[in-house]
Amino acid sequence: MILSRSPKTAWRVIEGEAVILSLDTKAFRGLNPVGSRVWELIDGRRSVDEIVEVIVREFDVTHEQAARDVQAFVRELLDKGLVTSAG
């Protein structure tokens, strides 16, 4: 699955962590360092599997754990409309 950031969001990296604003609900969502990196990697080109590979390389985490966490995080982002599935 390839994801894109929704155009209905605005985001900034503040003090090293991403903050996302839903322009529809005006709700903020602060991300931890791993979530921030996943958010940066969601670019409409990389697949979720490729994002997991990057997280495994850059953070001290097993492939299984990273895959589980990234999948859960991506589901949450999709549910909140912060990202869209591009295929």
Partner: protein, 156 residues
């Protein structure tokens, strides 16, 4: 992350203005009294190609706070602003720092002042010219404040 929700709101204000075309913010200080009082809601619109002139009320970020003051002079690169209730003008400001322009004021009692309609389009310029004048001494200061109190009485 030590950033507060208010900091974030200021940070993202340009995004909201670009997307929605307006944003409501709450006045927190009396620097624009008597026309704008703490607790008033202020409608901001993006600054377009036609930049605000003398008398317009604009918003900009300073020290992680949103400042809403009146334009008292324009320069090629920006503006000089001043709070109606303050004796001194602010430091000159580049246009790029101006987040938006106040187009309406709504009091807690529900009265709304549309600054884009007459007579306010005319009064804004007049108030800007008064605000631009230095007021030395107590009497001059009181005289300078009079038009702002009249404007507030008309609206509030």
């Amino acid at each position: 992350m030590a950033t507060t929700k208010a900091d974030l709101a200021i940070e993202f204000l340009p995004d909201v203005l670009a997307r929605d075309g307006l944003a409501w913010v709450s006045a927190a200080s009396a620097s624009m009294a008597p026309l704008i009082q703490p607790g008033d809601a202020l409608c901001l619109a993006p600054v377009g190609v036609e930049r605000p002139g003398v008398g317009a009320i604009v918003a900009y970020a300073r020290d992680a706070r949103l400042v809403v003051h009146r334009v008292v002079a324009t320069t090629p690169g920006g503006v000089v602003t001043r709070g109606d209730g303050l004796p001194e003008a602010d430091a000159p400001l580049a246009w790029t720092r101006v987040v938006g322009r106040v187009t309406a004021i709504r009091t807690p009692a529900g009265r709304t002042l549309d600054l884009e309609r007459r007579p306010w389009t005319f009064l804004e310029g007049a108030l800007g010219r008064v605000a631009a004048r230095p007021a030395r001494g107590r009497l001059a200061w009181k005289a300078r404040r009079l038009p702002f109190h009249l404007a507030a009485a008309l609206f509030r």
